[in-house]
């Protein structure tokens, strides 16, 4: 047996030991490869996707690559930690340092090679699945068909062979040789609880509270200014939370014997504190990575729904026609017949309402001045009600001496005073000398005027005099037409009557189309980060599996029931899985709240959907991992 054969056999005949490391490496390759498939996808490289998106993809690819490096390095080093005893034994038998490094190097090259190959194979299957989802969920004009990604395969293969080679070299130097006795007894000795200082624990709590406080307090544009400092403060706070505050907490718990000595608690917490150093690091990384994933996806999803909601809010009708101010009646009649023709083509039935929007200047006084130079819209109550009936809004019935101020929902107006405030303070002077004070302020989308308007009684309207300017507005509300029909009609209308017709379904379709690839990349990166966090946890758990088995075997000899064993193991796994995720969820919630403050737009629904689905995935992941983990431990016990 040559040394090389020994190294090979060591891996091949010891599969279970290496499988966790192998899987997480393979997984990383798979993620990168899947991403590469998209980056090199023919439909992305065509000119329909702009350069910014391509640049974004390259950056994202780079991030994944760097992240892969650290991930594999981390997996490798904790894998080596668990094999200290083996190295100790080898050294006792006379293996030199160089030989052990060579062994580790050869093993790594071997594992890396197979991980790359199988990662690419798994990636091909995974990509097919993702492409199917992408095609159905996101609107990307060219369909994303499956192709044989030669370029991606070559890139992935070369990148990861280089990466594994670098890590192999790197790792064989990490393996600093300690005293032989330390290596042999390595698995028995605690790496020690990190020291928990009260000051640092308080500091951790302070940092987190301060970070959250600032993030939740600021509004509007200031969110961007405080973003970087808050991220730094919260990151540091999270680190201290896991390394100090949690250690402090567990110490306190251990000292409280009525809790610590209760039934299986002792097994649970002693183990927790024993591995606190490793755990703290894992917790921290998982929490931060998951936070990035939550925030990235939440931001993109929030942004998209912000845009679509805004547009929907401003355009409540399926179709809206507003001619240019210099269009003759002939042009308008021509336009309308075109519109009707398109409706017929697409078999759309729509209710139509037509209205002259009249803007008045002179009767409205703001102090002594006219309120606006280009006039303020005043609508007749009956006109308003006709439009309101179209979208089933509430009707308005102003009294003769009253004007109702109507403004559109404040979503659109990030800054500055609300439209209603000026309107409310103004007065309307009628031809007969009567002065009308504006009354109630309501929010409604019935007529589209960003700056707000008055609705007055029909009788009063007659006394307003001549309007400064008028604007024709025609609205259609489609009845029972399918989404595809209205989108198609919208597309035709946009071609023939550009800018005069607003078609809400088509506009949103266009936004989604433009947003599709960006959302896709964001979603993908988010998922990658999240799944990587899961992979970290898995790795943490299975590195200690042998140690756990040994422990439970010795306890089982004294007498430990199956249900007690399950309870201890479940709680241990649950803590590992949910502690960092809960922290990440809170971080994510705060981040998304801050984001909604930036846009002054309510993101609660979006945040809950994003965070909730992540929590759900994590629960499912937990249940699966727990099942296998408990099974493994149980089997070793008897």
């Amino acid at each position: 047996m040559t040394f090389r054969q020994f190294a090979f056999n060591n891996v091949l005949r010891n599969k279970r030991l290496y499988i966790a490391y192998f899987l997480s490496s393979m997984f990383t390759v798979m993620v990168f490869f899947t991403f590469a498939i998209f980056a090199f996808h023919p439909s992305f490289s065509s000119e329909s996707i702009n350069n910014n998106v391509l640049f974004g993809m390259t950056v994202a690819g780079g991030i994944i690559y760097v992240f892969s490096f650290f991930f594999i390095l981390y997996s490798m080093s904790s894998f080596l930690q668990s094999r200290k005893k083996e190295f100790g034994l080898l050294m006792m038998l006379g293996a030199s340092n160089g030989q052990i490094r060579l062994l580790v190097f050869l093993e790594n090259v071997l594992i890396g090679f197979f991980a790359t190959i199988s990662g690419i194979l798994a990636g091909l299957i995974f990509a097919k699945g993702i492409l199917l989802i992408a095609e159905n969920v996101l609107i990307i004009s060219e369909s994303l068909n499956f192709y044989f990604p030669t370029m991606a395969i070559v890139l992935t293969f070369i990148s990861f062979i280089i990466l594994f080679f670098c890590i192999s070299v790197f790792v064989s130097f990490i393996l600093r040789t300690k005293k032989l006795i330390d290596l042999i007894k390595g698995d028995k000795q605690s790496k020690g609880e990190p020291k928990a200082s009260v000051i640092l624990s308080v500091f951790a709590a302070f940092l987190l509270i301060a970070g959250y406080g600032i993030a939740l307090y600021v509004k509007g544009i200031y969110v961007i200014y405080v973003m970087i400092p808050v991220i730094l403060v919260v990151t540091l706070g999270t680190y201290l939370l896991f390394t100090q505050l949690s250690v402090y907490f567990i110490r306190k718990l251990k000292n409280n014997q009525s809790v610590f000595w209760r039934k299986t608690n002792m097994l649970l917490f002693s183990d927790l504190s024993f591995r606190m150093k490793d755990n703290a690091r894992t917790f921290f990384m998982v929490a931060i990575i998951s936070t990035v994933a939550f925030s990235a996806i939440g931001t993109l999803y929030g942004l998209q729904s912000y845009l679509t909601k805004e547009i929907k809010a401003v355009n409540p009708y399926t179709f809206m026609y507003k001619p240019w101010s210099d269009d003759t009646e002939e042009v308008i009649a021509n336009d309308i017949s075109k519109i009707n023709a398109i409706f017929q083509e697409e078999q759309i039935e729509a209710k139509m309402e037509q209205l002259e929007l009249n803007y008045f200047d002179t009767p409205i006084r703001y102090g002594d001045e006219p309120l606006r130079s280009n006039g303020v819209l005043i609508a007749r109550a009956s006109d308003y009600n006709r439009f309101a009936a179209l979208i089933e809004e509430e009707e308005l019935h102003p009294e003769e001496n009253e004007a109702i101020v109507v403004e559109q929902s404040d979503a659109m107006l990030m800054m500055g005073t609300k439209a209603s405030e000026k309107l409310k303070e103004s007065t309307i002077q009628l031809d007969n000398g009567q002065v009308i004070q504006p009354g109630d302020v309501i929010e409604s989308e019935v007529l589209s005027e960003i700056e707000g308007y008055y609705v007055v009684n029909d009788k009063v309207y007659e006394l307003l005099g001549a309007p400064t300017r008028t604007q024709l507005s025609i609205a259609w509300e489609a009845i029972g037409a399918g989404h595809n029909q209205t989108v198609e009609a919208g597309r035709k209308l946009a071609e023939q009557l550009e800018f005069k017709v607003t078609s809400i379904d088509y506009t949103i379709y266009e936004i989604n189309k433009a947003f599709g690839p960006i959302l896709f990349i964001g979603l993908f990166i988010g998922i990658v980060f999240f799944v990587s966090a899961g992979s970290f946890l898995y790795f943490r758990l299975f590195t200690d599996l042998d140690e756990e088995k040994r422990k439970f075997r010795s306890i089982a000899k004294i007498g430990l029931t199956q249900s007690e064993l399950k309870k201890v193991v479940s709680r241990q796994v649950a803590l590992l899985f949910f502690l960092p995720i809960v922290v990440a969820l809170i971080h994510g919630a705060v981040a998304l709240t801050a984001l909604s403050r930036l846009f002054d737009f309510n993101l609660i629904v979006e945040s809950s959907i994003v965070l909730g689905s992540f929590a759900l995935i994590q629960i499912i992941y937990f249940l699966i991992v727990r099942f296998f983990y408990v099974k493994q431990v149980k089997r070793s016990v008897l």
């Binding site: 000795q189 000595w261 504190s273 422990k551 000899k557 007498g559 430990l560 199956q562 249900s563 007690e564």
Partner: protein
């Protein structure tokens, strides 16, 4: 107390191996029995069957009239931690726990009150002379101390039967002597039945009766008379009579 009748154990495999053949054995309440025999004679298999860690292929094991092998898994675990105490050659202490925590572990699993546990742990630690090391971790104490901790753990719930597998196997002669004397005093004071598997004639000479096993069969048994020294000599004689290699036995320590 303990009654074993016609217990056989066959290890299935490519080549089936018969480890025990029709063993009959009885241990009375408060009796201290040692089992000896050369390597591979089946001593540990027998102990594993009695300790319910292994199941016999045929035959019956009765502990106080109950057959533990008929119990369900969970009931068996409860039976083990209530009725039996274990002492292992490699101590089997959990290194994530302190000495005191290791000692009270069987009681915590049972859900005993903390005060009660404290009292019992303190009491037993005092009688075993390990009060000073109660807050230490297991890798900070010596082998002899570790075995005393293991004894404390095995005794804290006052089991009816104490099973010891080579309790002196990892200890030096002074520590062996201390441990054996402790076992004897526990045996006499608490009237705990004791069954011990050992290689060490010195350790075996502390027992009331030594049973010799060879090739999975009962070979013979000898009772202790008045004098431990004479008993020790008889054991040595029996071992040499049984044959086996001299290196099976640890060096004679007097």
């Amino acid at each position: 107390m303990l009654k074993i009748s016609k217990v056989s154990k066959v290890y299935e495999g490519k080549v089936a191996h018969r480890a025990l053949t029709e063993i009959d054995l009885e241990v009375d309440k408060g009796e201290f029995v040692a089992i000896m025999g050369p390597s591979g004679s089946g001593k540990t298999t027998l102990l594993n069957i009695i300790s319910t860690n292994d199941i016999p292929t045929t035959g019956q094991v009765e502990i106080e009239g109950k057959n533990p092998h008929r119990l369900k898994k969970n009931a068996l675990a409860k039976f083990r931690r209530n009725e039996l105490g274990f002492i292992f050659q490699d101590f089997n202490l959990l290194h994530t726990l302190t000495v005191e925590e290791n000692i009270v572990l069987p009681l915590t699993l049972e859900g005993t009150r903390v005060k009660e546990m404290k009292r019992k742990a303190h009491h037993i630690a005092e009688s075993l002379g390990i009060t000073q090391i109660m807050s230490k971790r297991t890798y900070e104490i010596s082998g002899g101390q570790a075995q005393r901790v293991a004894i404390a753990r095995a005794m804290i719930h006052e089991p009816k039967l104490l099973l010891a597998d080579e309790p002196t196997g990892n200890l030096d002669s002074k520590a062996s002597k201390d441990v054996m004397e402790m076992l004897v005093s526990i045996n006499q004071k608490e009237k705990t039945s004791l069954l011990m598997v050992t290689h060490d004639p010195q350790a075996a000479s502390y027992s009331d009766r030594v049973i010799f096993i060879r090739d999975g069969r009962l070979h013979s048994e000898i009772y202790r008379g008045e004098n431990r020294q004479a008993f020790f000599q008889k054991i040595i004689d029996m071992l040499s009579l049984m044959g086996g290699d001299g290196n099976d036995f640890s060096s004679v320590r007097v």
